[in-house]
Amino acid sequence: MKTPIQFQLNGEDVATFAESGANLLDVLREAVGDLSVKGGCWQGTCGTCTVLIDGAPRVSCVTLAETCAGKSIETAAGLRRGADLHPLQVAFVERFAAQCGYCTPGMLMAAKALLDRNPNPTRADVVDAIGGNICRCTGYEPIIQAVLDASRSNERRRA
């Protein structure tokens, strides 16, 4: 039983059919083809699949896809403008804030949710913002520093 769904993905209109009961992670990867969203647990506990829905961070693996009808979804694939990286991406590169890279898309989206709402976060704000995202490689410190760097970046662009 397939359900039609329409939403915006990184600013573009998307229409697809989803299996009844499908989660948003599967719809984005399998039906829409956005492979920048990764799956780590399929139970909402690791944050790897974090996307933004209408600006709010959500774990896509436990989000019923059809509840996203008409909403605006953002994933890591939509961060760069052409060849230009988002300040968060630049900061992650400069701070070596990724090793295996698997948690990185989710971390970037969790960080973007923070900076879009709070352009001047404290360290505690950053720690809370990525508090739902597990990283097994970096020990988190480079990621925290990268998010703080991005918030201070002079070249912050409009989200």
Partner: protein, 529 residues
């Protein structure tokens, strides 16, 4: 950020290398931050099927019967994969280097030996269909007594876990049930020691918990081969293991590694590739076998638990004169890499310290627990946890600063190790000194002046070692090592016919060298003769 302490051993190197000694960026960092690094699952295939595995709910049981008829008829199911379908259904990972006997089935048929052991596979058009079909399989088990403790497993009459190793230990060289290290006479030394400390250390199994679970996708290729996209850390290793289990020549498999989404040693066991290849060949379709998070955490192989007994004899002046280690590796139900971990463990005993009397027995033990595997320095790191806790206790017992205690006992160049090789390229003392500096830990001047390059030699292992050691190389005891005649310089160009005056040739030509690349490795031993 990184700090390079190039002041240490500065006379041994030119700081003119382009990459070594300089910070550098990851080649895949751009891929990571744009979400384009290709993990094995970042490939789409039409009509992809899904393999899910039925696992034993018991730690030890005989399988009396399996009824998969209902599962085979379930909606979306394309194929059931049974033990009889696996071409070579007994393997051990290190058979690739002729180490150990084949002991582990890909699918259990008569006995299950750990909770979670794979019994049967369902290949279906969706993961959900496969999971629902699995729920329809009826297995009749006869539960058997199980053993979960390494020392219990070694007692006479213990439950036998592994049919290939019925006494619950791995066999080294076909006849030894453990690995030994003998150097000097620990019993005599304990009698002379001012303090003897004995303790027991226990590690738990540790799950790697990578962000990306284990998985692979097998795709029948246009020419009869199978392409495999896999999360493995060890591409050729997994290819050869899969070839053996599927009775295929290895040139029939094309393995394409993904960026590994966290390995840490937990993606070397080749857990998914053999069966997913079989599934693809049996269905003619691309198949994915992906561990769920629950499978990864509960059944994915962990770092094996180790139990380590250490007995040290220590003198009041700080010298450790004897170290006795008895250790048990919990390999779980099958060998995998634990046999090798034990070899590494024994090679590491007694730690980076010069001790004249060393005695070790290390066992690779089978229990009805999840088979263990490699993780981050396996064989060594858990032992180091135990050794370093013991070092602290030793220091406290004799009233010595724990860092100075380590510096005093540290290896120095020229020391005879318990393995009867000379220590070379030691650096523990310098590391300890830098740690003390960073931690503002006070060290007495005498210890701040110590060096790995001074004071070493066979005199440190002394007369006790004489009795058991091989004929010594001709280095006189108690002679300080001579400083090199001129600083060793290593050039990256093969020596030109006419040597340039600004680059003096090395004082000793490396013996038997067949290549011009620089050698810092102690294997070739050209550093700091």
């Amino acid at each position: 950020m990184l700090e390079f302490r190039k002041d240490i051993f500065a006379d041994e190197r030119d700081d003119n290398l382009k990459e070594v000694g300089q910070p550098t960026q990851r080649q895949d960092m751009l891929g990571h931050v744009t979400g384009t690094s290709p993990y094995y699952d970042d490939h789409r295939f039409a009509n992809l099927l899904h393999l899910k595995i039925l696992r034993s709910p018991y730690a030890h049981a005989r399988i009396r019967s399996i009824d998969d008829a209902a599962a085979a008829r379930a909606p979306g199911v394309k194929r059931i994969i049974r033990a009889a379908d696996v071409p070579v259904n007994l393997n051990t990972l290190l058979s690739l280097i002729q180490f150990g006997k084949d002991d582990e089935p890909s699918l259990a048929s008569d006995v299950v030996r750990y909770k979670g052991e794979p019994i049967l596979g369902v290949v279906a058009t969706s993961e959900r269909a496969a999971l629902e079909a699995l729920a329809l399989v009826r297995v009749s088990y006869e539960q058997l007594p199980a053993v979960f403790d390494v020392e219990e497993a070694l007692k006479p009459g213990a439950v036998s876990v592994n049919a290939v190793y019925p006494k619950n230990t791995f066999e080294y060289y076909g006849k030894y049930d453990h690995q030994k290290l003998r150097f000097g006479d620990v019993e005599a030394a304990f009698k002379q020691a001012d303090a003897v400390l004995e303790d027991r250390y226990q590690m738990s199994p540790i799950e790697h918990a990578p962000a990306e679970t284990n998985g692979s996708i097998a795709v029948p290729d246009t020419n009869g081969r199978v392409s495999v996209y896999t999360s493995t850390q060890a591409l050729f290793f997994s290819l050869d293991t899969s070839a053996k289990i599927n009775a295929l020549p290895s040139n029939q498999l094309h393995f394409i590694g993904g960026t590994v989404g966290g390995g840490f040693g937990g993606k070397v066991d080749t857990m998914t590739e053999p069966l997913v290849i079989l599934a693809a060949r049996l269905t003619g379709a691309p198949v994915r076998y992906r561990f769920s998070r629950h499978e990864e955490m509960q059944f994915g192989s962990p770092r094996g638990a180790e139990r380590i007994y250490i007995k040290d004899g220590v003198m009041k002046d700080g010298r450790i004169v004897a170290r006795q280690v008895r250790a048990y590796f919990d390999s779980g139900a099958y060998t995998r890499l634990s046999s090798y971990a034990v070899v590494k463990c024994v090679a590491h005993i007694p730690g980076p310290y010069t001790i004249p009397n060393v005695h070790a027995d290390v066992f690779c033990v089978f229990t009805n627990r999840t088979p263990a595997t490699a993780m981050r320095g396996f064989g060594v790191t858990a032992l180091d946890f135990a050794l370093e806790c013991q070092m602290d206790k030793d220091a406290v017992a004799i009233g010595m600063d724990p860092l100075e205690f380590r510096i005093l006992n540290a290896y120095r160049d020229g020391d005879m190790k318990a393995h009867r090789r000379q220590a070379k390229n030691c650096a523990l003392i310098e590391c300890a000194q830098v740690v003390a500096e960073k931690a503002s830990w006070p060290l007495r001047d005498e210890f701040r002046r110590m060096s790995s390059r001074q004071g070493g030699g066979e005199h440190r292992t002394g007369a006790a070692a004489e009795r058991t050691r091989a004929p010594a190389p001709a280095v006189p005891a108690a002679t300080p090592r001579p400083a090199p005649a001129s600083p060793q310089r290593v050039s990256y160009e093969r020596p030109a016919a006419a040597a340039s005056p600004s680059a003096p040739p090395p004082t000793q030509a490396p013996a038997g060298s067949t290549h011009g690349a620089p050698r810092f490795s102690s294997v070739f031993g050209t550093r700091r003769r």
